[in-house]
Amino acid sequence: MTIKFKLFTGILILISIFAVDFFVNQRLSKDVIKNTAYLNNSEAIIRNSNILNKLMIDMQSGLRGYLLTDQEDFLVPYYEGLKSVPSLLKEQKKLVNSSNQKERLDSIHTLHLKWIDYSNALITTKKDTLPEANARYIELFERRVKARYGKRLNDSIRDIFQDFDSYEYRRRQDRRRTLEKSIEDTRFITFILAICSITVALVSGLYIIRLITTRISKMVDLAEEISKGNFKTMKDNQHDELRKLSESLNTMSTILDKNFKELTKKNKELDEFAYVVSHDLKAPLRGIDNITKWLEEDHEQELTPDVKRNLDLIKGRTKRLENMINGLLDYARIGKVKRGFQKVAVEKMLNELVELLVPPNFVVNIKNKMPVLMTDKLHIEQVFSNLISNAVKYNDKPVGRIDIGAFDWGDYYEFTVQDNGIGIQSAYYEKIFTIFQTLQERDAFESTGVGLAIVKKILEDHKSTITVESISGKGTVFTFTWPKYLVNE
């Protein structure tokens, strides 16, 4: 599974949680809106119901007043009611949804119509001045009013109104309870979803961070190892974008390892070659030298000065060639000889070298305290001996001066060898470290040009460096570094 896919899945889960949350809240707010609308409707129904009830009661009172006093102005509310009750009922029927309530309204309507019939009969007969009408009124009064027909109708209407109102109130209370419960539920769901989304976000975030960082740090470690020259590889079982990176690192490491080994082998072969060649070159050279000497020995009396000079030249060139081959052998041997670590007291070593290499007309000054270190004695000795003998060799002053210094940089040492000799022009700073390169004519100054090449090769072998600074005619400073080896004594 790729990281992209994992990230996408995490985000998808979060989005779905939020979608559910949104949906639940949406539903709740719809419920609230619906309930508010219902409450408004319900209030209107109760209000209408009250008005209707009052109108009807007023009609009844008006009728009663008229019947008792015979004064027609009592009938004003009655006529009012006749006009407004039907429209109000109609309106009320529209507002009411429940079939029970509709039935109740229908019953009220029916009863009310009956009562109007009853009332109308009484009023018409009472108003009429004809004697049959009066008799009819008396008859009606006796048969209906006294028999409480109207009262019964009114009682029924009042009862139904009461039922109607109480039903409405009850419904309203149910509604309120349902709404409260749904608010409660929504709060709960939202809370749970919030916890879920926080958990999912945390867990998936931590998982992805862990997945990426542990492997990246593994790769960083590997890259560091590679930079130190340890060409390792790493295992990676995941199949995603990072896998490509780790695979490339592994490939790089493997190739580097292969090339490095190849290079080491080639270098060794080259050293071997130089060694064998120079060794084999020496045998015929020795022969030439021997024969030259025999010629001189056997024909000493017969040789003309010219021939003698030429024979000397042959001997001189043979010697030079031998020196060069020896130098090449020394150079090739640097990598061949196994390193031997031992305790080296640099100051003691320097004093021994000075005694061996430096003539009395030189002043040698060891500037500061020299370290005592566990190192490859042969190599550090070779470096110093080459630098010191160069300082002696290339000096034109009546009193030669050699200053040797040391500085501890923590990770490595830095040594300086300074002389007051003939100096080197800056154009040759690089050239002097190349094998067989000399700055003076060989006939004038016998030098093989191997010493500094050996110094450079030894220092490269120890992953160290050498630099040179010089003022032509005034002197030269060679500065080289030397590693601190962690070797147990």
């Binding site: 060794h279 020496k282 045998a283 020795r286 022969g287 030298d289 021997n290 024969i291 000497k293 025999w294 020995e297 052998l329």
Partner: protein, 139 residues
């Protein structure tokens, strides 16, 4: 001084001449036989040489680096023969052949002669002192 038989096993003509001159200069009476490699030397010792010569040398001067059979191989063979075992062997070597020198030493040799054979300049050179020692040993 009785004459000593010396077998020189050396492929280089110059080195052969060099040894001849040295022996001549040191006035050591000798009968010098020369073989150019280990195989020829063994033939001389066994009497299998083309002219049928068989020698019993007092001293063998042995070069290490030779064609066909080199000095170390030759040394390994003669040290296994009871009759040849006691012959004093001097190895001619250059200073750089340390590895071969160690191998020769393990097989049992009497001494070295360091090449180049530079005895003209000084009587104290390693080569000439070895020759002196050699002549004393065989007397």
């Amino acid at each position: 001084m009785n004459q000593k038989t010396i077998l020189l096993v050396e492929d280089d003509y110059v080195d052969v001449t060099s040894v001849k001159r040295a022996l001549g200069k040191l006035n050591i009476p000798h009968d010098l036989h020369v073989a150019h490699n280990g195989v020829d030397a063994l033939a001389l010792l066994n009497g299998n040489s083309p002219d049928g010569t068989k020698i019993k040398p007092d001293i063998i001067i042995l070069d290490l680096n030779m064609p066909k059979m080199n000095g170390i191989e030759f040394l390994g063979i003669i040290k296994n023969y009871y009759s040849l075992k006691s012959i004093k062997v001097f190895v001619m070597t250059t200073s750089s052949e340390e590895y071969d020198r160690a191998a020769a030493e393990n097989l049992g040799i009497t001494g070295y002669i360091l090449k180049p054979l530079d005895f003209e300049k000084s009587k104290d050179s390693p080569a000439s002192s070895t020759f002196q020692l050699m002549s004393e040993l065989v007397n």
